[in-house]
Every structure is written in C-alpha cells, then in structure tokens.
Symmetry: C2
Subunit: 210 residues, 2 copies
Amino acid sequence: MATPSSKAGTKGVPRERRRRQMLEAATEEFGRHGYAAASLPAIAARVGVTKTLLHQYLGSKEDLYVACLVPVGDRLLGAVREAMGEGGTAPHTPLRVLHGIFTALEGRREAWFVLYDTTLPPGGEAARRASEYWAAIDRLAAGGTAELLSAAGSTDPLDADALKYVWRDLVATLVRWWVKHPEQTPEAMTQRCARLFAAAATLTPEGRSA
Amino acid sequence: MATPSSKAGTKGVPRERRRRQMLEAATEEFGRHGYAAASLPAIAARVGVTKTLLHQYLGSKEDLYVACLVPVGDRLLGAVREAMGEGGTAPHTPLRVLHGIFTALEGRREAWFVLYDTTLPPGGEAARRASEYWAAIDRLAAGGTAELLSAAGSTDPLDADALKYVWRDLVATLVRWWVKHPEQTPEAMTQRCARLFAAAATLTPEGRSA
DNA sequence: TAGGTAATTTACCGCTAGGTAAATTACCTC
DNA sequence: GAGGTAATTTACCTAGCGGTAAATTACCTA
C-alpha cells in the first residue's frame, strides 16, 4: 500500500495534484522569503520531490513565480474591485477593502507578499506582470486617496503619490502582523483595524498645514 | 603621481580611510538589497577593491554587517530618544520623531533598512544586535502608542502590539518613499507627513468600535 | 509477457558567493 | 642599497543555486 518512497521512479501522484502542491508550496516560499531568497530545492523539498520535477512541471524559477502570481493577483484584484465597487466611496471604504483583502487571503496569507515582491529580476516578465497587478490596484485606490487629500486641503501631486505608497505598505504591514498571529480571523483583523484607525485619528485633533 | 592602478600591491589609501569607505559602501548596499541579497564582491567593487581586502579589514559578512549596524543604530536610537525626551508626550510628538529620524538619516537614507533587515541569518549575532536596537526604540515608542490607544478606548494588548508594528513600518515606508525622491529635504518630508496625517484623520470622523 | 507511457530520480554543468593562504608591490628608514 | 612593514592582489577551495540530459521505476494495456 505504502509507496516504496525511498527509491526512484514514481510515487504515483497524478499530474494535476502535484502541480497544485507545487504551486501552493512555491507561493508560500516566495511569500515568506521573497523571490530572490526563495530556493527551488527548498520548494521541492517541501513537496517531497526533486527540484528537477519542479522544472519539468513549471519551467524556470521565473515561470514558476508567474504561475504563483497570476491566481493571487486575480484574486486580490477582484477582492479590491468588489470592495470598492459597491456604495461609491463611502467613509468606511478602506475598512471594506481591508476586509475583502483579508478574506481573499485567508488560508494563504503569505500570498500577499508574492504580489508585492521587491526582489524580482528587473526587466523580466515576472516584474512586468506584478507591476501590472499593482498598477491596477493602485488605480482603484487612487480615487480614495485623492479624495482624502483634497478633503484635507492638499493639492500637491507628490502628496498623492506618497499617500498611495503609504496605503499600500500599510496593508502589507497589517498582513505581515496577521501572518504572525495565525489565530486571528479576517473579521477580527478588520475590527482591529477599525480600532487602530480610530486611535490614529486622535493623533491630529484637527489637521491643517502649509 | 597617479597610482599604478592596474597592477597589484598598494594604492596607498590609509587604513582608516579605506575602512570608512568600506563601511559606507556596505551600509548602502545592505540597505538597498538587504543582508541576504547583498554581495561582498559588489561592495568591494563599489570601493574599487577586492573582496579579500574587505575580509581582512572587517571580517566575515556578518561582522561587516554588524560594523555597519552599530553606528546607524546608535544614531537613530539617539535621534528618537532626543525627539521623545523633550516635552513629554505632546500631540505632535510623532512628527518630531519623524523629523529627528529624517535628519539623522540625511545623507545615508538607506541606512534605515540596515537597522530593519528581515533577511539576517536567524540566531546569529547580527540578528541579536539588530533586535536589541529595535527593542530599545520600540520601548520608547510604546509610551506614545499606548497613550493613543487608551485615548481611543482600547485596552486590548494585541492592539498595542499591532499599533507598534504599524508605526514602525510606517516610518520604513516613508523613508522608502524618501529614498525614491532624493531631492526632498528632511524638513519637506516632515511637512509632507503632517499633511498626510491630517488627510488620514479625515478618514474617521469620530472613531468608536467594539 | 512485452510494450508503452507517465512520474520521478540520478548525475552532471556552469556560475556565483563566502572565505582563506600565499604572494606581490610600494613606501619608509637605516 | 637592504630590510621591514603596510596595503593590496592572485589563486584557490567549498558550497549552493538554477538548469538540463539521461536514466529509472511503476503502472496500464494488448
């Protein structure tokens, strides 16, 4: 019954299943260590397989990365789009977006960092594809941040850029904290974010600046 | 007059001077790419020297990292301590802290990421030393964040942990944006942060949550 | 029982990295 | 000039990674 295991040949795992295993392991490894620091042998070992098989199933390291990226990107983009879509740009939109992201990420939390990997080989297809995803997401967020700024009386385009940047990284930070607290549900996270926002708001009683 | 340059031997650069050159180059390289991705050959090349010399001057890669870390850590810790020290915990303390960090970092902006490097070999001395620095800085920040939270009515210790985390990463994000906009002065950055805070405050008209 | 084929491994190549021992060169002094 | 010493390089070792070609094993079928 038990497959020979120690010797070479086949372990009889059907193609599709193996493929999924590999993508799952690779996504986690890429997310945890980043593209550059992630190693194919490590990913292969996690599946219980040789790195050669990885290559035969999913091509080069960059190919593998792209194969991990696409489903994650689609999923997250969809979640953000949906969260922003309903109800215009209500005041609590950011929380809705966060909630969407958290639920989309549940079960594969590290996947976020696959989408926002800064160690991709520059000029390669992986970097191109990834940048397409965050451009799309940023475009969705742009409306919200612009609105915030104009409400606060700023017209500086650099402010808008910085705010976009900060928002993106804030999400990353929250997800990173979430990864370190596995027991937290997406709902609990969303509520916590609401509390944090409230706390942050007490920082500037009423803001006004040059 | 011009040193032979192409051939071996000495280029006549005095020991101390070389050492400083190396530390400067290493700090920038570690900051830009992170410990794991930074390469000794690249650092050496930047100084115009062989990697062997690097080893002879500053030991192993981890030794070199620690040598870069210490001055940066001392400097930043000092800046934060000073910014927090004067005037208790006034409402605009965060901005003062940011201003202190920005000025401490001027001229070596990437140095921040040396202090907060996530790719250090776990269990090593580098990781230990770095964690000591951020523990010290976090301790300083803890007062401020706790105050914010209690003002907003939260008593959850996890909230405090998350907020500490968010604040730390927010600083990192702002510095990262700053690195990408070299022409910005520390003062301009501080003012921009003030505007961003104000904009963020409009997010939660009045916060209240479970 | 003989193929065929799908699943997998073994063995290897080239490259780069971190690291060390042993030379090499230039200057300073007697 | 002859040493000594400081600054630096050349040459080399080992290990790990990404990647490829060629075996190997097990199952299904005719």
